[in-house]
């Protein structure tokens, strides 16, 4: 949770931080990190871009798991 900052003493901003270790075809491993707000992690976020995009991470993964089982 981001608690306080120089511009906002009462930030109270919970977020999910993800660190991905990604290996490309040559075997080289790179670290990629990014943050998500709680709604981005849990539910659909329609305000984020011009193209309406469901970027809710956890829900999408559950769907992938359900689909990959049936293939």
């Amino acid at each position: 949770m981001a608690v306080s900052s120089d511009s906002c003493r009462s930030l109270k901003y919970p977020y999910v931080a993800v660190l991905l270790k990604v290996a490309d075809h040559s075997g080289q491993v790179k670290n990629k990190s990014f943050e998500m707000t709680i709604p981005q992690f849990q539910v659909c976020d329609f305000t984020h871009s011009v193209v309406v995009h469901c970027s809710n991470f956890y829900r999408q993964f559950k769907e992938i798991a359900a689909v990959i089982e049936t293939v």
Binding site: C8, H53, N56
Partner: protein, 188 residues
């Protein structure tokens, strides 16, 4: 002269200008611009301290992310101070914060986000049927494209592949995160 500084429409405009400059990163909103557009009858010498006072009040409210009770108490205190604000001005500030609070808070949060954020996510599940090295494989694979980017910068696209085992491993981790979130978000 003091009467000219009390107009509520002008004050509303002033608060918008201050918010644009202080929170939303809008360049070029100078004190002379605000004075000439909103308080043309007032001299710069008189306008300057008035602007500083309003800027200070707005920044205090935003920094503390005041709820409406705190806001009421804070503004009442400001009306009672020597050289503070009038109750009409307090009403304008209150109305402004109520309608702009969410947007200002979002801008302040973005100012404190220095890592990339998730901008978009797409996925596809493929069933692999044959490859040059194996005679017959039937392993489904999930392909995911993540769009990530830092504030004000172009997106980077990450294309990731997961087999079923990896999807389930990751799903388990995500459910632990979800549980953690639910625990953290419990009302105190």
């Amino acid at each position: 002269m003091a009467g000219e500084l009390e107009g509520s429409k002008a004050l509303s405009g002033l608060l918008s200008g201050l918010a644009q400059e202080a929170f939303h990163g809008h360049q070029g909103i100078t004190e002379e611009l605000l004075r000439s557009q909103l308080y043309p009858e007032v001299s710069l010498e008189e306008f300057r301290p008035f602007l500083a006072k309003m800027r200070g009040i707005l920044k205090s409210i935003a920094s503390a992310d005041m709820d409406f009770n705190q806001l009421e108490a804070f503004l009442t205190a400001q009306t009672k101070k020597q050289g503070g604000i009038t109750s009409d001005q307090a009403a304008v500030i209150s109305k402004f914060w109520k309608s702009h609070k969410t947007k200002i808070r979002e801008s302040l949060m973005n100012q404190s986000r220095w890592d990339s954020g998730l901008r978009g996510l797409s996925w596809r599940v493929d069933g692999k049927s044959q490859s040059r090295h194996s005679p017959q494989i039937h392993t489904p694979v999930a392909i995911m494209e993540l769009e990530i980017g830092k504030s004000g910068q172009e997106s980077e696209f990450l294309c990731l592949e997961f087999d079923e085992v990896k999807v389930n491993q990751l799903l388990k981790k995500l459910s632990e995160v979800e549980e953690s979130i639910n625990t953290l978000m419990q009302p105190a």
